[in-house]
């Protein structure tokens, strides 16, 4: 019977084996490699598993955080608008707009908007009347403006007032101040303890001791 030539069992012709056959012999290169891998691979697998489980707990991960309500920057006011324009209508349906460089409403409970650099424009029967003041507060519910500092009222007559606080009621179109006031009217400069009048300057009452310097015919009041 012909002996099947076993490529790897031929002990007699060892020197006649090919490289591949030599490597495949027991104890050859392939065996050592497999023996090595037999313990290396499980160890690697275990190491990777360990890494997955242990690593998240050991290191302090710096990017995760707990959102604390008090630590977060809370805006103090409820509403802040820059270059705000507020369009409204008086009870009689006359439109008015209030524009301001800055408008802040402290909280929703208080219906007052604090304005800086404000200019109120009212549509009137005989032309618009504008009220300009450096700062003031707008009472939303009753359409009332309370402004501080020099107030300019431009309209057909056009006059200016300077007083601590000037109340302007957009509904009744009246301007009044209880604090000492100075101002200029078309006919001259005045100062008084109190003053009230309509926005257009049709009728103005200054009392509590008032002084009016009527402009001379040729020169201005201050001549």
């Amino acid at each position: 019977m012909a002996t099947a030539s076993l490529p790897y069992g031929a002990a007699d012709g060892a020197h006649a084996l090919t490289a591949r056959q030599r490597a495949a012999r027991p104890g050859g290169a392939h065996d050592t490699r497999v023996r090595l891998l037999k313990w290396l691979l499980p160890v690697l697998a275990f190491a990777v598993l360990a890494a997955i489980v242990i690593v998240p707990m050991t290191k302090v991960s710096e990017f995760s955080f707990l959102l604390a309500k008090d630590k977060v920057g809370v805006a103090a006011e409820r509403l802040r608008i820059d270059n705000a324009v507020y369009r409204g209508e008086t009870e009689k349906g006359e439109a008015f707009t209030i524009s301001a460089q800055g408008a802040v409403q402290r909280s929703s409970a208080v219906a007052i908007v604090e304005l800086t650099g404000l200019k109120a424009k009212l549509a009137m029967a005989d032309g618009p009347a504008t009220v300009t003041a450096p700062a003031g507060r707008y009472f939303i519910e009753n359409d009332r403006l309370q402004v501080t500092g020099p107030v300019r009222l431009d309209s057909t007559a056009g006059y200016t007032l300077d007083s601590d606080t000037v109340d302007i009621d957009l509904n009744t179109r009246r301007v009044s101040t209880e604090t000492p006031v100075t101002g200029t009217l078309p006919i001259g400069n005045f100062s008084a303890a109190r003053m009230s009048g309509d926005i257009q300057g049709r009728t103005l009452v200054m009392d509590g001791g008032a002084h009016l310097r009527i402009r001379g015919r040729t020169g201005r009041a201050g001549r």
């Binding site: 007559a157 009217l185 078309p186 006919i187 001259g188 005045f190 008084a192 009048g197 300057g201 049709r202 009728t203 103005l204 009452v205 200054m206 009392d207 509590g208 001791g209 008032a210 002084h211 009016l212 310097r213 009527i214 402009r215 001379g216 015919r217 040729t218 020169g219 009041a221 001549r223």
Partner: protein
């Protein structure tokens, strides 16, 4: 005798002090009430109520007339006059005082019903006609002081 108010600049600014001022722009007038004091140049006018009428031709209001009522006193460096009413016609440069007018000028006293002081000439004319009415009999009484001749 010529009043010191001669040549008073009626277009000079007028200073008005009062307890209450009401400006009625629509009617082009301003109403002053309560110890009104009006000063223009050397003229000082006291009254209980004053109404100033102005016109607005060139946009800038110009004072036309000044009506003073109640305890009107006119004070100037050269004379003192009192009356019930006074009218200062700014444009016409004439001050008219009516109703129990007394004029005290340098010690000499004049009484009558109507005094007209012309600011251009500085002269004042006195008559006894009632204010605005014509020819009511009245007398002008006067007491003159003759300056001592040293």
């Amino acid at each position: 005798q010529v009043s010191a108010l001669k040549g008073l600049d009626s277009s000079a600014p007028v200073d008005v002090d009062a307890a209450r001022i009401e400006v009625q722009d629509a009617a082009n007038q301003a109403v002053f009430s309560g110890d009104v004091v009006i000063r223009q140049g050397q003229l000082t006018l006291y009254a209980d109520n004053v109404k100033i009428l102005y016109t607005r031709k060139t946009g800038d209001p110009e004072m036309q007339r000044l009506d003073a009522r109640g305890n009107v006193r006119l004070i100037s460096p050269s004379e003192r006059a009192t009356a019930n009413n006074g009218i200062y016609d700014v444009a016409g440069r004439i001050i008219t005082m009516t109703g129990n007018v007394t004029l005290d000028r340098g010690g000499s006293m004049l009484k009558g019903q109507r005094l007209v002081l012309n600011l251009d000439t500085g002269l004042s004319s006195f008559d006894s006609r009632g204010p605005g009415t014509t020819g009511t009999p009245g007398r002008v009484t006067g007491r003159f002081v003759v300056p001592q001749r040293k």
